[in-house]
Symmetry: C2
Subunit: 381 residues, 2 copies
Amino acid sequence: MIYLDNAATTFPKPDIVYDTVMNVMKDFGANPGRSGHKLALKAGRGIYDTREKLASLFNIKNPMNIIFTYNATDALNLGIKGFLKKGDHVITTAMEHNSVLRPILGLEQKGVKNTIIKCDQKGFVDLDDIENAIEANTRLIVTTHASNLTGTIYPIEKIGALAKKHNIIYMVDAAQTAGIYHIDVERMNIDLLAFPGHKSLLGPQGTGGLYIKEGLDVIQMKEGGTGSKSHELIQPDILPDKYESGTPNTPGIIGLGAGVQYILDKGIDNIMKHEKELLKLFLDGLKLIDGVKIYGPLDPEKQAPVVSINIGDEDSSEISYILDNVFDISTRSGLHCAPLAHKTLGTLERGTIRFSIGLFNTKKDILSTLDAIKKIAIEAM
Amino acid sequence: MIYLDNAATTFPKPDIVYDTVMNVMKDFGANPGRSGHKLALKAGRGIYDTREKLASLFNIKNPMNIIFTYNATDALNLGIKGFLKKGDHVITTAMEHNSVLRPILGLEQKGVKNTIIKCDQKGFVDLDDIENAIEANTRLIVTTHASNLTGTIYPIEKIGALAKKHNIIYMVDAAQTAGIYHIDVERMNIDLLAFPGHKSLLGPQGTGGLYIKEGLDVIQMKEGGTGSKSHELIQPDILPDKYESGTPNTPGIIGLGAGVQYILDKGIDNIMKHEKELLKLFLDGLKLIDGVKIYGPLDPEKQAPVVSINIGDEDSSEISYILDNVFDISTRSGLHCAPLAHKTLGTLERGTIRFSIGLFNTKKDILSTLDAIKKIAIEAM
């Protein structure tokens, strides 16, 4: 089996992630931060270790400013809806995932206005368009780091600088990049960073997080038991407790820590190099196949290892089905929860077939996949 | 080691739960409901299986009315804040956990009024007090099924009937009972049922759920990718998609399914019988120890297997520390995130030591614990 659906969730995970999850569940599966006994303390320390590792990876000064969430969507909702208030204006782009667009559009009825910047056919955004969209009440800019449809990489450092210049808060959706590309919240001026744990950070599903810059006023989405200030009937105002009510996903979070440690040990540069090599091999091969329409930048330097294509006039889900059932290659077809991005590409009707490369893919995987696409394309002609 | 902190999270889990989590992660760790390939479909089916098992356990007609959440707190917030609107009135009790009280009190500033019914010293609520608190705009009654502090069991079927009589929606917090006691949403007239996955349902942490009665208007807390109606920029209005944005905790949810299947196979009656026997043994033993103050009903028929005590004038955390470090017994001290319940008991200052029994505890565990308490009580005199 060749798994090329890593943009949805990475598979497999490093063995140390499986082992860690099992170890937590079997050896100290207690409730962290609630009780004071040995197992509970060990669980609490494990969760703190993951915070520290993520802080190291993203250059976050204080690990307590990292909030663990259910997934990246949860983190995006918390940041967007917790920060924006009635009368505010927010800028985002047409390449965003529904986890950004739907919360932002949902806020319209609460009196939060938005501007969705159009992108070019390769998915690139023009910085001038962002700057021109700034209004007196613009309080937030939200962009992806890389499109989940075309892989198009956004110049987040430049957008961060632009936001800073105008005294606007900048939120980055790192769903497709955390764990593959360098992300430095200080240098890039990122005030809110949402990330999934189960994609390129190599952790288990049921994990994600939001970095909230010190002092930023973000209202929590949930209240409950925090294991702190239990005598008070109002939610405590300390981080991360304010945002982390209830029992966390201890095995998942500590497993995520093992994934992040694996990345720190391997080095982001090496991971990026490997994925770029495979991406280049794939793009170069695809360009030679007649009948294949490739979307996005077609440039490994300008796109994350995510490639969307169509073959002839075939339905994307039909091709994805054949890839799975005839060639045992897992891909994703359809709209990938990014309708405006498809509008940008002109693929809203038929969708695309998406191939997303992960750390554990090999050159052989890519060559076999190119071979399969070639065969399908010949059939389709 | 004797683990008596099962009210915080059950430990250990049945082997089949560990095996299932690992099997999902290693064999089909894909993203369910997003892609159409074999692994993704298998993950999606696994999640649906868990819905069906929970529906069977709680007598829920349509499994799609079960929403998976991060934990019970997440479910309580969704139900309480998603249902109540400005101008509404909600009734709850002083024995509730902060995961009920904090969201309800937080809604005050949004114009939702509340009445918190006082309970007697054993934690019991008077049904007449609930009925007398009903106002013209009362739209919701929220109660726990059993106190997390004293185990006091609430007559949820009677409260459900009362709510129905007055055309009020009834929400139950089953954090301490789901998996031990019979819960039948139809017979008991429960409109909203919040439950954790990682307590007596024996699933992994990072799981929980909310049953929402068909047709009930509950606003989602999050919007995002749902794998359905991806072309639309507004959140789809179908269950469970409306409330389940982003990648779910697939290994956790399918692992929870294994836990629920374990319960269905063993039978709730047998589980209840085992835990009641141990509870009786523990209560009977405790009553004989000089210097021990026991809170709550002191009756296995009227309380879940949760027992709070204090010894002499000792600090609860000190005793819990000794139990852990000298006798290797895991308990919880402090306020247990239930401040008004402690006010009811008169223990807000010093807290209590809580012993919570689980399915895998044995008579020997209880006898050893009684022995340890005896020794500590003699020292303390």
